[in-house]
Symmetry: D2
Subunit: 342 residues, 4 copies
């Protein structure tokens, strides 16, 4: 049994980790921390977990995380970087669901996240936890930077095209749409039902923190810097990301075959039949990314449609997938959840 | 392995049965029928099932249902009653998710459902599949009438009070609210997103088909006819039923203890701590019914709040629970699904 | 032209007042205050008002409200009571959309609102602004207590029955459902889209502040104290209240005629034809209350269905209606807004 | 008074025309037709119109439309073209809210709409009713082809850039999102609340009927054929279109000034301040189009955000605007509706 700790378990990625780990046959949930809610039973805050999780939130100071085999950080940005070294030194492996270790260029990270990084050397060591790209490195990693939700959906959609060199890489467009759970469980006005419900808008057009993360990943795929315009939008629904990706073709290839081959051995990337248009609900609650590729009117613009559940493949599910890889378990352990439809 | 057939698999109870049975360790999905969609792969109609269900919809005439151990009818009302006898004669056990076998009084059934019943004798034999009331009979049953969604939520809420004789039974009130999936997967105007979304209304105030089913169950619980006013409402959401039940107390009892004792051994009825108010999302996708009992301002009106997922405990989940009982499996097999929240 | 000031204009009742008053032919919007957003153009916070409202939020200290003919308080509870006397002394008339002047019994008010009342004598003077009951008093009033949203929907539904003495008044039940805008424009967790969306629950079962307000109104209608159980619920939508009201008949009367006669001369109470079930969207954005009365299965339980837009007839619209009455204008001035459907 | 008839009044554009025309001071609603619902009072089908519209649906054969000054066709595609000539010959002016007269190239129209056009000569005569482009022609028109919803939002966003020649016109991208009311009031499965709610997907990627209409308009703006990729998506909400438009800059210009100047005299096109991101709800129920223009990271990709209410500026509101122009009324008559927010 893997002894698991969760730091910061009162947000949506925290409760989603609990949903997945509560029925994981190889995991023993050891401790879950919350500064504000220490002493509260987890199932009191989240009645959906009644009967599945008996833990009480523990104050971080009394968590004894060093006794865990693995600790997930489901915390705001800038927390994990202060605790990582001590835990690694104690032999604990870490998966950070926040952004502290995602971006290799510290200057870029500090600019977008507005703080000084506490441990740049660990950023170098950290493995970016996108299994479809980095599976082998993840296996050995002490410290995994779990990708962001938009970056997961966008990279999985662009990577086959960029690796194969079939689209111009200077003017990529990612028009992405996310349910509001992506904004986290925070008391903020703009994500009230009365504000975000029955409404739709773009945000972060001038620059969103996921832009440098996506750019880094695409740059690695193509081998040189790419040009990317990324426009996120807020959907009047809870879960789900839909990325609509546009690129200009520079070669005539069988796009369907290209995608099917790239993901032939991937359990969690499902390339739909030609002509399909994936719905976000087709992955609701599951760790799948479903992708379709189109070439409208046979022109030179390729359109990729990529959907994930932002809290699963875009956060907690991918983290569990990474854990399974790190500990040598079958990669899909505890992730065989049939999506909830309708 | 139990060889299972599903008749009428293109509706919401059908796809929900598939979601549950696809990962049931003791079930072999043999056949699923659809007259209109014969030949279509199930996962083409429901991409959420890609990778989980490889079946193709079979025309009813070619289904060889008699080779199954168990057949679920996820059909409109009035279908199962025409096929039940032949299947029972062939040694197949049946669970009907529609209303054909729910109401013992044939005259009442024919009035509310507007058709002549094809096999009144089988109605006598059929066991009403509410495990919390009829577990022992279900175990032996050849033919189970799976309860309706409103009747499940309302009966589970009223039964402890009526069995204990603590409320007046002549003027019960059930104010119930359901998500639109309860209306089924049918192309009807009133359940369009543009009609039912951002909107709320009562319906069937003059009389809803679930009224006689609920009355029958409550009458059995109390031992004599009850008086019930049942007002259903349509919620602008997909899944979930919330029943708010009102009764007049005639004895001073510990209501909390009464409920906790009645359901102490029930895996799928969760009596919440005193003062709680259950949310529909706390059971989203799961087979639980969560119940709270209140006595506002210490007056003589008792208020019970009862929530279920109408497609799970209100339909497919309860059907699988009944199947588990019928075949001697642990009752919760394949039903250990953590609710999806948020 | 009536010179109008609004205190506390950044909440939902504030912006709704602006929507209505911006096109009122007899109103000159003089000033709108906000402590936190002083200096911000109103249309910057609410782009829906671009082209209609040119005002900038003014700090309360610089508002010169005493130069207005009428001031609306769209503030939290407990604000208006501190400013009322000075304004009244300056000859300004007031409409308070909060609860400061709604409840005549100061002890009751202080218990439910948890504060000491600053001006009990003004509570005595204040007129409860339900035009269908108090029109004549409103005409002369210096100070109007605008009713709460639930109280408006519930009172308009029960009053015909109670005034006529046709139902037992000791065990009234009001099962009410409200869209989340009723909770105000506040950064609170439970009204996030990711919490309240796709979800339904009761709240305040043990006691909600609108209970004493409703009880007071019903008591006045019947001439002696009534017994009322009031259970509010939160709907996964933005606007709209639906009250489902239950009473036990003690006389056999023509209920449809009773309601039609009671409201025959009311512009904003629409009694629907027998058998109707009003939808909340049928009053979306308008000042109407639509009501239907039922007697299911011809039993002795009467069911009244009453819908309003909580922000219009339940708040800002009723306030404008009261203003029109106070200033001798046609009561429907600026309230002839066709509901938005779909 | 303008005597107005409406053909096909039971859809969403029909009821929206009624909402607007019921309070239009210069309009006398003469007749509204419906083949299926002849004899039904309009306000019975749409209770939101109780008190505003007293008409009963009339069978088309008894409508005497030739006695109207103006007839709106709120019918499916392919109806108006069969009735237009007789009405025009009788001196009636026409506004078709469907697509019969929108596309000048009959071959293109017949390909996309799958029928033979009944009156190609009237297509030549018809004026495309986008006032911001064709105001003068609309004034004199006998026959106005009211633009589609997507085409309105997309054209208003691209036109300033194309007229000024500042973007490459060979690779335009329009990523558009629409609420479900855009699909009409039809009993179809994919727009059920249980299907389209809490869900998001693209559709029509291979080719949508609005593509040739948009291309025609953009081609006119730039003076030569443009290359356009148009991907529509279905939003889980009722009203509103958000178009996110991408173009490659070929000149360095002040984009904000360009847009402000182009629409300086337009009452219904609102160019937001630099840096803004318009929400669909900011135009809910109103005839405005709100637009913002961005140049992310100062790169060479320009992003335009354009929102309308698909049923107002995208259909019925624009039709009334066209009527006002045709009859010499102030263009905003009856269109001064403040958007409904929240």
């Amino acid at each position: 049994m893997i002894k698991v700790g969760i730091v910061g378990g009162t947000g949506y990625t925290g409760v989603e980790l609990l949903r997945l780990l509560a029925v994981h046959p190889q995991v023993q949930l050891q401790v879950i921390t919350s500064r504000a809610d220490a002493g509260t039973p987890v199932s009191q805050m989240f009645p959906s977990l009644r009967g599945y999780v008996d833990l009480v939130f523990t104050h971080p100071d009394q968590a004894h995380l060093e006794q865990c085999d693995l600790v997930f950080f489901a915390t705001p940005n800038g927390i994990a970087m202060h605790q990582a070294r001590a835990l690694l030194d104690a032999g604990v492996r870490l998966i950070d669901l926040a952004a502290d270790f995602r971006i290799k260029d510290i200057t870029v990270w500090e600019k977008w996240y507005g703080m000084t990084h506490a441990c740049p050397d660990l950023v170098s060591e950290a493995v970016y936890g996108l299994p479809e790209v980095n599976r082998d490195k993840i296996r050995q990693a002490r410290l995994v930077a779990n990708p962001g939700c938009y970056p997961t959906a966008v990279q999985l959609g662009f990577i086959p095209l960029l690796e194969a060199g079939v689209i111009e890489d200077a003017s990529l467009i990612a028009d992405a749409k996310s349910g509001v759970s992506g904004a986290g469980r925070k008391a903020e006005m703009h994500i009230l039902l009365a504000e975000a419900g029955d409404n739709f808008k773009a945000y972060g057009v001038a620059g969103h923190r996921h832009l440098p993360e996506i750019s880094q990943g695409l740059t690695l795929a193509v081998g040189k810097p790419v040009g990317l315009t990324f426009v996120p939008h807020l959907l009047p629904m809870i879960r789900g990301i839909h990325a609509t990706l546009y690129g200009r073709l520079k070669k005539d290839v069988d796009l369907q075959a290209l995608f099917e081959q790239r993901y032939a051995n991937e359990a969690f990337v499902d390339v739909l039949p030609a002509g399909s248009m994936p719905e976000t609900r087709s992955v609701r609650g599951s760790n799948h990314c479903r992708i379709a590729v189109h070439r409208p009117q046979g022109g030179d613009t390729v359109v990729v449609l990529s959907v994930i559940d932002n809290l699963v493949k875009g956060a907690a599910g991918q983290a569990v997938q990474n854990m399974n890889i790190m500990f040598g378990l079958p990669e899909a352990t505890a992730l065989g959840i049939v999506p909830l439809l309708p």
